[in-house]
Symmetry: C3
Subunit: 204 residues, 3 copies
């Protein structure tokens, strides 16, 4: 899929969605304009930076392709100035975030497999690509990462990464199966939100 | 020592011990099953991931050898389900953690020296290998890292790393001297726990 | 500029200033001697370590040149033992910190450009070199990073990095223009402190 315009567009939609979630969290914490831009940048691109460092692809895409940071910062600044109107878009952001989850998992897993990372490691890299930005967003704003607490989020990424790895192993990782995998992750994530599914917590 | 089964076994014991400490902290913070697995993974493998990124050995071992993440996650899930019984094992975990401290310092320092890192840097890498996972565990669970507060822990690693570097410089870094160095670190750490030694805090 | 003694001296002044700020924060949080040394090390060298990982220059300078960690740790230990006298030096530390901001931005941006990172990415790397250590210092001491909250700090670095990138593009990045750029950043930072300039916060 690498290099295609459709992939770039999909990737930038994920970046925009994650930047919006990061910038919203930063506005809620009363950070200043720079802080909002920075947390948006990290939320959108932190997972990909971690992925690229782990697979040895330096400089990471966030630094080698200006469209990634510019998209993240542009969206973050827009959230800063428009956040009251933006609150009405919360559902749209959750939808885009679920889309980003699927897209980042697929691209992260594929890049790791391409770089020669073995299957189990590639699944972990794919999952980290999807959740790394949100983890960093929460740490920067002084919260215990929400992805570790109750949500069905990272597990969707891990399962999806396993599917992508399996498809690659079966030589079936064409454009259509991968798009279906990303869409399925997005669907499961939205279903988990709608039904308020949550992972178990240990008995006290 | 690289490649030997005894080293792998030793390394995985350290991974298991650090995963248990991470998972216990995550259970205490009421994280969900995924959060417990993730914090266990990071506590066990975060130090080694940092080491491998710093010495340019990518992908890090945590991603290139499935036995490392599988051990960490298996132990973490066991802690999640068995933690009431597990509390009785607290002493065993402290013992294993002290063993992990010695083992991770030795392997981290040796890998850095092998990669051509100069002596002072190799000591720092060895120490970071041993304490990095615990640091990340505490940050993820919203705590100021305990290793920075009162304990005699990192200083043992730093001293041990200096000994390993000295042995290597003297061409004495054979299996037996290194095993003695690891055991000595474990012993000093246990003595510090038992005697409640603590590092000084600045006068107010 | 690489390799010159004047650059090394300038770099080590920045390291010393950032170590002092990290160690002061750690003393205020009642961390022990090791914690003070570690937070000082991370505050002084964290930005440079991140820079070197991103541009693929491994092992990072903090591990390959002993003068960097030794300077950071020496200053941190001095702050630990002398911090009551040290408080009277707060103005000197703020001055040195502003100098470090300018110097680290210039060297970080140049190293990124040298490593082939495109202009937008190089500006980001230059800024991260300057603010990365302070970010890590605040995370380790349990604070939301101050650079994200109100101060005019990172924006000075970002603007300065753009100037350095422009000078390089115009083939004017000689010793004198770069020194002027660093001094200008330091001046703007001090002016922002003196006039209590702050970045805007989003309307509620």
């Amino acid at each position: 899929m690498t290099g295609s315009y459709s992939l770039l567009a999909a990737d930038l939609i994920g970046v925009a969605a994650f930047a919006a979630s990061g910038a919203s969290a930063a506005v809620a914490k009363r950070l200043d304009l720079f802080g909002v831009g920075f947390v948006g940048f990290v939320a959108a691109l932190g997972g990909g930076i971690l992925r690229d460092l782990v697979i040895g692809s330096v400089p990471p895409l966030a630094f080698s392709d200006w469209r990634y940071p510019v998209t993240a910062v542009f969206v973050s600044v827009a959230v800063f100035y428009l956040h009251p109107q933006f609150n009405r878009l919360r559902r749209a952001v959750l939808l885009l975030d679920a889309a980003g989850l699927g897209l980042f998992t697929v691209t992260g897993t594929l890049k790791a497999l391409d770089a020669g990372v073995p299957p189990v490691g590639s699944c972990l890299v794919g999952m980290l690509t999807a959740i790394g930005g949100g983890l960093a967003r929460d740490l920067l704003t002084g919260e215990i990462p929400v992805v570790l607490q109750r949500d069905i989020y990272a597990v969707v990424a891990l399962g999806g990464a396993a599917v992508v790895t399996g498809l690659t192993w079966l030589d079936l990782a064409g454009r259509v199966p991968l798009a279906i995998a990303a869409a399925a992750m997005t669907g499961v994530r939205l279903l988990a939100l709608y039904r308020r599914w949550s992972a178990p917590v240990a008995a006290p």
